[in-house]
Every structure is written in C-alpha cells, then in structure tokens.
C-alpha cells in the first residue's frame, strides 16, 4: 500500500524537524525508510556529505519485552556504540568513555549500575536517548519520545532534546504532541491522509494544516 505520494523534504545540518500527522498517515513507515529498515517504494533518501546510513541515533518506541529486561543502564547505553565497531568483539576504552560522557550529559550517571527494568518511564527514555547519542554525532531520530510520560517528565525530556540540538546534533522527532512540535522545532513536516506540508515553523502556523491539525487534536 502506498501511504503517501510525491512527498519530499530536506533536513539541514543542526536542524530540528518535527514530523506530525494523523495515525495511519505513514509516519512510522517514513521513519523506517529513513533508517533503511524498509525500502521506500519510489524515490530515494539521500544522505549529505559525511553521514553514513548507520550513523543515525534512533530512539524507538519501547516494546513490551523491554519493560522487564534485565540489563544494567551502562550495558544499554554502551550498546549504542555498536555501529562503529565492525566485527571487533569487545568495547574499547574510547567507547566506554563516550558512553559515560553521554550519560553525564543526560544526567543519568548515578543510574549506571541500576537495572533498566527498575527505572521509571522517564529514566528509561533518558537511557535510550543516551544510547542513541552513542550511535551518532550528527543526527538523532526520535519516535514518539514522550509517549506515556507525565507532563513534568515530558517537559524535562523536551529540554534535554533541545540541549542536544543546541550542541550541534540534528534532531528529527515524530510526535503526536503538536503544541510541543510548534514550540521546539524549526521545521515541521505534517502528514495527513492524502496531503502533506513541509516548511518552517512560521510557515506552518500560517498554513491551513495548522488549523486542521489543531482541530483534530481538539477532537481527540
């Protein structure tokens, strides 16, 4: 099934793009295509200079199996370094240092030896975000990062994402939360069942999509 046709957009270095849209409009498919987990039916995804396919830090939606997974926080974060390893079997001192640095940045250093399954939802998201940062210096892709979190934790997480963006990492975030998208992002890609919009935040606010999405949000 073709979800959406003839859509094109681009993301510049250091940008903050939010992808918003209705359920079933193809957001998840787009994410999978960006990560090369799925092939786009037509068209292509081009990576600019210096960005390799496997250098995207990805924050997936959590699965049920993960919620009671016995793994220490450090093990999870460190697994983000895997893409730069090739087939070498053990982590190097450099990678261990990188894992510790990203944990420091996200304020989870004191959780290092805690078990992932014992953490709160917000802490788990920080751990996964920290893992995503280990996988990249350039681009992170967040799929519904605040799903199921309470408002305070949500706000903290948005602050962290902004901090990451300011440090020079490009952010692409898929979200249901239109108000957050409008508040944080620089560009917005909006997908509805058969139309799409791509432009800066200001352009989006002036467009009909802004009203349309607000309408559907109020109707939820």
């Amino acid at each position: 099934m073709t979800v959406i046709e003839n859509m094109s957009f681009e993301v510049a270095d250091g940008d903050y793009l939010c992808i918003v849209g209705e359920n079933g409009s193809g957001k998840s498919t787009l994410v999978k295509a960006l990560l090369s987990l799925k092939k786009a039916e037509k068209g292509s995804i081009e990576f600019g200079e210096g960005l390799k396919k496997n250098e995207i830090g990805y924050l997936p939606q959590q699965t049920m199996a993960q919620k009671d997974f016995p793994a220490s926080v450090y093990e999870v974060v460190l697994s983000g370094c895997l893409n730069s390893r090739g087939i070498r079997p053990f982590y190097s001192a450099k990678e261990r240092k990188k894992a510790l640095e990203t944990m420091e940045l996200l304020g989870i250093t004191d959780l290092k030896n805690r078990s992932y399954r014992d953490l709160s939802g917000g802490q788990q998201q920080r751990v996964l975000l920290s893992r995503a940062l280990c996988a990249t210096k350039k681009l992170i892709l967040l799929d519904e990062p605040v799903a199921g979190l309470d408002p305070i934790v949500t706000a903290e997480l948005y602050d962290l994402i902004e901090k990451i963006n300011k440090s020079g990492v490009t952010v692409i975030m898929v979200t249901h939360d239109l108000s957050a998208a409008v508040k944080c992002s620089r560009h917005i890609l909006c997908m509805t069942e058969n139309e799409w919009f791509f432009g800066s935040r200001e352009e989006f606010l002036k467009s009909k999509f802004s009203d349309f999405m607000r309408g559907s949000e109020a109707g939820d």
Binding site: P70, A71, P89, Y91
Partner: protein, 276 residues
C-alpha cells in the same frame, strides 16, 4: 557428601553414564545460553515447538530404519527456520502457529510409532528421555555445538545483547540482526535434537527456559543473567543426574524437578531482595 562422591565415582566407572554426563553438561550449557536470548525475545515457545518436531522426525526415522540423527537434524533445522519466519511475520499469530506445528508433529510421530508393529520402539524413552540412548556420535556433535555456542557468546556477546534488547535499534545502527536470529534459531535446533534423547522431547525445552527465568529473578544485568544461567543449568543437570541415579527415576524428569525447585528458590530470593 560422601554418598555424592561415591555416586560420582560409580557414574565415572560406566562409559554409558560418562557419555550421558558429557553430552548433558554441554547441552545444558548451550540451552541455557541460547535460552537467555530466546526467553527475553519472547521466543521461548520456539524451543517447545522444535522439540515436538524433533520427536516426529525421530519416530519416523526409527520406523523407516534410517539413522535418527540424519533425519532429525535437517528436519528440525528447517522447522527452526520456518518458526522464526512465522514469529517475525505479524500477520500470522506466532503462538498459534507453533502450537499447531508442535501438536501436528507429535501426532504424526505417535501414529508412525504405533503403525509399525514390528519395530521395537520405546515410545516412553522418546517422550521422556533415556540415558541409555546417548551414543558416541552425540558426544562428538555436542562438543562441536558447545564450541560454536561458546565462541558466539564470547565474541559476539555485544551484538547478541543489542539484538535481544532492541532489534530495531540494532538493525538501524547496522547490525545484521536477521543473521544472528537465524544463527540462534539453528543452534537452538541442534541443541534440542541432541538433548532430546537424554531429556525426552517433552522435557528438553525446560533446559532452555528454566535457567534464564531463574537467574532473571535475582540478577539485574544481562551479563550476570547469562553467566548465572549457564552455571544454574550445569549444576541442576548434575543434581538431577545424581537424584536419578540414586532414586532410579528418569533422568529428564529429575532434572526438570530440580530446575523447578531452583526457580522457586530464586523467585523467593528475588522477592526478598526487592522488599529489603
């Protein structure tokens, strides 16, 4: 303690029991290591399904007078491949498909055995295992298998962790998750076929599931869970062997009982730790 040493010296004086001991320890270790990944990925039913398919294959091989391993190994490997495909395919419900395949294979196996009146086949030992059925060929295969599994868990440990914890992240960052999944399924199939004759096809999947579940009650990191599963598995196997020898009970069932008890102990310890 003195009695235990006596029992072991008796066991070591019998070549059949030594073979069973070697195969049992190696299979227990492989099953436990692979089991950690399978249980955490919610694939534990695959082990159960494969053992039933293995039973069907062994029964048919016996009826047709073929070498049991030569039939069972390829059949179970193909079944592992298919079951993994089914589980990955969202459209067909994996659990129902596994239940269908395992009961189907069991039915075929029982039919084959009961229709061949002339052949001397002990259904009971197929279903619930027998120490006597372990031969020197099994020893060779289990040594090779254990070397492969251990090699994989030492050198690809980081990748196994990443795939078990989060397959889509692992794939997105360039790990060939499907190859590792397939490798784990195929090694599981081999482990089951070899362990099946000792443990019985009804009971072999306990070796995959119990050690992982027990150690998950108490241990909190993937590394400690993996190491602990391997140790639990070998110790429960040895304890089960001794009980089976002394009390003259079937080996497979004794091992499962020890594993059940171990699980209960770990469960209680885990609860106490949490409240403390």
């Amino acid at each position: 303690m003195k009695r235990v040493i006596e029992v072991f010296s008796e066991i070591f004086s019998s070549p059949i029991l030594v073979r069973a001991l070697v195969v049992g320890i190696l299979v227990s270790l492989c099953a436990a290591l692979l089991g950690v990944s399978l249980v955490l990925k919610r694939f534990s039913m695959i082990g159960d399904g494969l053992s039933h398919v293995g039973f069907g294959a062994l029964a048919i091989a016996a009826v047709m007078n073929l070498a049991p391993m030569a039939v069972a190994i390829p059949v179970v490997l193909i079944a592992a491949f298919l079951l993994l495909r089914l589980s990955n395919n969202g459209k067909i419900k994996g659990d129902a498909a596994i239940a269908m395949i395992s009961t189907g294979a069991l039915g075929i196996g029982v039919m084959a055995v009961s229709m061949s009146k002339g052949a001397n086949i002990d259904l009971n030992s197929y279903l619930f295992g027998s120490i006597m059925s372990v031969n020197s060929e099994d020893v060779v295969i289990s040594v090779i298998l254990a070397v492969i599994v251990l090699f994989m868990f030492v050198f690809f440990y980081t990748k196994i962790f990443a795939i078990t914890f989060d397959e889509s992240f692992a794939k997105a960052t360039g790990t060939a998750a499907n190859i590792y999944n397939m490798l784990i399924a195929l090694l599981t199939a081999m482990t089951i076929v070899i362990g099946m004759r000792l443990m019985g096809s009804m009971l072999i999947s306990s070796l995959i599931i119990f050690p992982a579940l027990s150690s998950m009650r108490v241990f909190k990191s993937f590394k400690s869970v993996t190491i602990c599963s391997g140790i639990i598995s070998i110790l429960t196997f040895l304890a089960g062997m001794v009980i089976s020898y002394v009390a003259e009970t079937p080996c497979g069932a004794s091992i499962v009982c020890v594993n059940t008890l171990t699980f209960l102990i770990f469960f209680i310890v885990g609860k106490i730790r949490k409240t403390a």
